[in-house]
């Protein structure tokens, strides 16, 4: 038939099927080898919070599930291409296009798996967002283009009200010196917390949306102007950890870094004491 598909010899077409099958399997194999290699070099940064342990565990479960599906589906795809390449004019495709049992089977397995993941994920999410323990320390986090400030209540445990529109040099966060609880409040450029002590954050932004991201704590929460988001976590490893901004916030987005220091209770007390009375 002139102008129709160019006739290809059966051997050639089958050969093409084998080649494409090998390509698909090469992608599968490449992805597996790359992932195996990445686990040693480019995987999660060291874990340092109690919630993070739960998150990593759930990640591991989902990772196992999707790895199995990934391997099975890509391998089957390759197998279909390998086996069912055209084998000449005489050979014809099977007229097979319904199979109730197969369809019910794979729908049920998929649905059950996903319901299980939903239950696991939902319960962890509600734990992450549960009420903070009574012994949690409170720190107010204020984001702005392009930096972070951390507002501590001081020994009296009372956070003075901030007024971000009055925030300027000499009056950090716009805290009025005669405001209740203001006298001993501390405003720091780095976040210092005690190890194994839950820390309750009140996250807010002065200008645009930022996102408070501490990779080692598996912790991220947007800072939204006009709103205070309350959330907590428990650091379980002492050390110094990076804080990044994860929400595009302007030209300096990539330099909006800070540091989280997780210290012993004694170090924490001496850090607090290092601020002269009325450190504002």
């Amino acid at each position: 038939m002139a102008g129709n598909i160019e006739p290809v010899s059966a051997r050639r077409e089958a050969g093409r099927g084998v080649a494409v099958a090998l390509l698909v399997w090469a992608m599968l194999g490449g992805a597996m080898v790359a992932t195996w290699a990445a686990m040693r070099r480019w995987w999660f940064p060291p874990l340092a919070s109690s919630q993070g342990a739960d998150i990593d565990r759930l990640f591991g479960i989902i990772f196992a599930v999707i790895s199995v599906v990934f391997i099975l589906v890509q391998a089957t795809l390759g197998l279909a291409l390998w086996r069912f390449g055209s084998r000449g004019e005489s050979h014809r495709a099977s007229h097979w296009h319904e199979h109730r049992g197969l369809e019910i089977g794979w729908t049920t397995i998929t649905a059950v798996t996903l319901i299980a993941l939903t239950v696991l994920g939902g319960s962890l999410w509600l734990r992450v967002h549960s009420a903070p323990p009574a012994d949690a320390r409170t720190v107010e986090v204020v984001a702005e283009q392009f930096g972070w400030r951390f507002h501590y209540p001081g020994p009296d445990g009372v956070l003075a009200a901030v007024d971000l529109t009055a925030d300027r040099r000499g009056s950090p966060l716009g805290i009025r010196s005669d405001a209740p609880g203001a006298a001993d409040d501390i405003v720091s450029r780095e976040l210092v917390v005690e190890v194994n002590r839950p820390v309750r954050l009140l996250i807010r932004s002065k200008d645009v949306i930022h996102s408070f991201y501490v990779p080692n704590m598996r912790f991220k929460q947007d800072a939204v102007p006009g709103r205070v988001v309350e959330i907590w976590f428990t650091p379980v490893q002492a050390g110094t950890f990076p804080i990044a901004c994860a929400e595009l916030c302007g030209v300096g987005h990539y330099v909006m870094a800070s540091t989280l220091k997780v210290v012993t209770p004694e170090e924490y007390q001496s850090w607090l004491a290092s601020f002269a009375r009325g450190a504002l």
């Binding site: 296009h97 949306i209 709103r227």
Partner: protein, 591 residues
Amino acid sequence: MAVLEQDVRAAHEEQHRESLVRRYIFSQDHKVIGIQYLATSFLMALIGGVLAMVIRLELGWPGSVINQGSYLSTVTMHGTIMVFYVLSTALTGGFGNYLVPLQIGARDMAFPFLNMLSYWLYALSLIPLVAAFFAPGGAPMSGWTAYTPLSAVPQAAPGSGIGQSLWLLSLAILIVAFLFGSLNVITTVMQLRARGMSMMRMPLTVWGLFITAILSLLSFPVLLAAGIMLLFDRHLGTTFFLPAGSVIGGKVIAAGGGDPLLWQHLFWFLGHPEVYILILPGMGIVSDIIANNARKPVFGYPVMVLTMAVIAFLSFLVWGHHMFVSGMHPMLGTAFMATTLIIAVPSAIKTFNWLATMWRGKIRFTPQMLFAIGFVSVFVTGGLTGLMLGNPAVDMYLHDTYFVVAHFHFVMASASLFGVFAGLYHWFPKMFGRALDERLGRLHFWLALPTTYATFFPMHFAGLAGMPRRIYSTQLYGYLQGLEGLNRFISVAAFVLFVAHMIFAVNVVYSLAKGRRVAENPWQATTLEWTTSSPPPHGNWGEREVVVYRWAYDYSLPEAAQDFVPQNVPVEAPVTAVARQAGGQVAPATG
């Protein structure tokens, strides 16, 4: 229905006498408009692709080519152009216009004038879009999602000046174009199907485009409203998205009352259906191409239709999974997690059905089949990581990192693009009467699939290591220092990927001039567009009336002489007649 049909035909006869300008520039012929949409989309893809190369240059060699502000403009415009001005327009405007009337046996779209308007609004929208690059302060820097207040207050970023307003204006015009287009597709499918073409006989390509049109019609107006509200905030002093008591770029927002989360809800109410707007047409196209090249009926056709409808319905209920860490109430997060994971069920079923369609087939490895295979492969790879991101506690870590970039570049960008390429290799002969060069097509695929994996798969690792999106440089953060080599590798792979897609551009130019001439039905396909000449005349079938007798997948019927029976061949016809008619004769208008 009949009256409408006559109107369309009358309009066409009129058009035959019209000038070249009316025929090929301000044309009301759905085929010309479809090709116009495709050509313009590819022009925009070139711009979007070059912007991607600039991003990769910067991330591979930080600080070498571009400053911080321009980098954010590049990221913003790359995303905007690729999502709205390339993939959406190529699939809904390009394939939607070209294929829907041809595959349902109509002579044109229901509203040809509206259709012409739709394309020219798209063309018009490109003027403010491109002008944004040259605005004082440059193109917008707030990402394709344009989160407020960054996008609302000019003081917030240099690109949040006039560039952002031009961006909004362009998007608003484009949305009107999409609305005209989707109204047209819906009406055409509902009203202009040929005799015998029941809904359940439609090819899955038409189903994909039809359901996509419904999605567009219901979701784009929300973004249009949001965009207009944002323009009001920017220019008329309203504060829909601005809270009181903030200070942005030194400007005190005293009278507020708005909420930045409102923008996110409105944006993602479109934004999530949008990713299905980009994938459903591809799913339909790929289903048909796999059936045609495996010489087998699509496996589980009714389920394929149902799963598309379920995906479309659920896509309106999942937008909050973009907002797990936005400050939205955590209980809402739980609800959105449930709908998000449920939507994976129909997606998985579709994948299994594609595999079953190939299974026990007689597969031809044409370039369109290769890209359809690539579609399945990258769709699975990208779809699976959605189960991680859809889980809010895990998303807490992965949100706004390169893991997300990897995820959507597989499942939405690459899969959708592979769908577009598969469709082009398949229907190019119908559009131009000449096939794309097969050898170049194979080369294109053999380079594109490995480099797609090499580019986007390692991005998962950058994300797991904690690399945020949209950062100008990884140099600042100590914990990202080890990613330099990884990022260079990704950049080099991306450059090769760009070259691979350029092969397609070469192929188009070469094949338009020198491509192999083809007959009506070069792929021995069953659907109606292959029963008319290549390219089809105005009105698609001349004086013949199109009547449909069977579904779109009568491949390898055991009792038929050939391994395909076109939809217009009567069921009661003797087997020998089937063989003669298979070349594309249209059944007589009886019954």
